[in-house]
Amino acid sequence: MEIIVCIKRVPETADADIVIDRTGRDIEKGGLVFDINEWDNYAVEEAILLKEKYGGSVTVISMGPEEVNETLRRALAMGADQAIRLTDPAFEGSDGYTIARVLSQAIKPLSYDLILTGVQTEDDGYGQVGPTLAEILGIRHAAVVNQIEGIESGRTRVHRELEGGLEEILDLELPAVLTIQTGINEPRYVSIMGIRKVAKKEIKVLGLRELAMKPEEAGEPGSLTVVEMVSFPPVGEGAQILEGTMDEISDKVVTILKEKGGVA
């Protein structure tokens, strides 16, 4: 079982104060903490579980700058066997389609039975790259997979998560791309020792030329959608923020609960 996992390094912004940068088309990344995209962490774990069950190897691929090596090493420490990083100034400004296009160029010469991606990224949140990759490679796919039942005779049985707790079971021909949903497994813990152990492992780096791509096929020129500008979402009505000491705030909540919640 040859498995490829596409992973992305993303800034953690749930808890951070984000600032729009000078271009007005993105945010300042300077002070932010980066880590593996949450969904991709589950995808790496799933790949390793499948390797443990069926044998074979796991290759992790990420498109991004040098710091991405850290994220790739984290995946190697989890149990991936090889890591590839795709990088080129020409990739800057790529949309979801073009990211998939770049990934596909790296994947085409490899042998694989399964390609795992996350359902979506925490930053761009396209939910697009995985299935697009499948279409470019001319293979099958299933999006929002929350269980892989098994693999047999060149096919796999997977569960797709639908709305409201409903799932559907699909039977799919391999090779295939599966986009992995959170909660499918419990990603293993990565220790500093574990990362140290893989510190010397080679990470293959490929650019535009190695991927046999022309500059006009990548980045903004190769993309079908272009970011014009970013802004902060309008607050709408917005919440009335309760101010004061902890005591005063708590009293206000009690009043609200009495008035609106019928709590007596």
């Binding site: 800034p11 419990e186 970011v227 902060f232 979402p233 607050v235 919440a239 206000k252 909540v253 009690v254």
Partner: protein
């Protein structure tokens, strides 16, 4: 024909809400651009559904085939590729749902159509399509331009359009299914229902809901106590379930339950759209979050900005006193 096309989403005989939301958005754009609005319905034995949609579009294109009984992206893609070739729509709307996430990217790639996913708004000026989508978990709005193309596609975020009544008195056009042979590379087998849980959070009058901001499962009893002091039920966001800190039946959101309690208290929940879609109908929403820019504050009626580890115990104290 350069129509605005809306792909009808339905499951087990029911048209899903996203369909009406997309039709509403499509109607607004149709009025602005003068391009007709067409609903595209694929299914098996769905004539009645088509009748029900007639009023909401200028035309309902109906394609029936037993192979379209259940949603299957590969079979849908085969049919839609055909329809797009024939209809040459200007813009195709698909829901940003489990259905659309499985279908739209591959269809767009096949048709070489620019695709903007998870859009909260779509604008058309002189045939230039722009869309608003959110990034960073809803903390940023991004305006994207779709490069000119014969056909463009957007997927629409559920619950981002409010639906009003209108009537377009459209007609039904039947199109013969282009499917001939079986497609066996991707097969739908069956649905699996969610297991019935122990508690039914949809019945609760007050929900105290906890998110990833709780950081450690050891902090959950603290929130549980707050709930208890209020006679409320404990619910949560998805990561809390993913980490197995609380069971699935407690999850609020698109892939969990939709709730409408009198009061919803969101604690350490950022307010991703998948969560908000499941609770925004609540009577009064109180959010506690240390990030003043957390999207949850855009739907909450009252907000407390600060550390939940300090706020929750203080609240619990006061509430126990007040409602003893």
């Amino acid at each position: 024909m350069a129509d605005i096309l809306v792909l009808v989403e339905h499951r087990r005989g029911e048209i899903r809400d996203i369909t009406f939301e997309m039709l509403m958005k499509g109607k607004t754009l149709s009025e602005k651009t003068g391009k007709p609005l067409t609903a595209l319905l694929l299914g098996n034995d769905v004539g009645e559904m088509a009748e029900g949609l007639k009023d909401l579009a200028n035309r309902v294109v109906l394609i029936e085939d037993p192979k379209l009984e259940n949603f299957n992206s590969e079979i849908y893609q085969r049919v839609l590729g055909n329809v797009i070739e024939q209809e040459k729509p200007f813009l195709l709307f698909i829901g940003h749902t489990a259905f659309g996430m499985d279908l739209a990217p591959t269809l767009a790639t096949q048709m070489k159509a620019p695709l903007a996913t998870d859009c909260t708004d779509v604008m058309v000026d002189d045939d230039q399509i722009r869309a608003i989508r959110q990034t960073y978990g809803g903390k940023l709005n991004v305006e994207v331009r779709l490069k000119p193309a014969p056909c463009s596609m957007v997927t629409v975020r559920p619950a981002s359009v409010s639906v009003e009544d209108y009537s377009l008195a459209g007609e039904i056009t039947r199109v013969t299914s282009p499917l001939t042979e079986e497609i066996a590379s991707k097969r739908f087998l069956e649905y699996v229902e969610a297991a019935a849980g122990e508690v039914d959070i949809t019945q609760a009058n007050i929900l105290v809901s906890v998110g990833r901001g709780i950081k450690d499962p050891e902090n959950i009893p603290m929130v549980q106590e707050l709930a208890k002091s209020l006679g409320a039920t404990l619910s949560c966001s998805r990561p809390v379930v993913d980490k197995k800190w609380l069971p699935k039946d407690r999850q609020v959101g698109t892939s969990g339950k939709t709730v409408k309690p009198t009061v919803y208290i969101a604690i350490g929940i950022s307010g991703a759209f998948q969560h908000i879609a499941g609770m925004k109908g609540s009577g009064t929403i109180i959010a506690i979050n240390r990030d003043p820019k957390a999207p949850i504050f855009n739907v909450a009626h009252y907000g407390i900005v600060g550390d939940l580890l300090k706020i929750v115990p203080a609240l619990k104290g006061k509430i126990s006193e007040a409602f003893a």
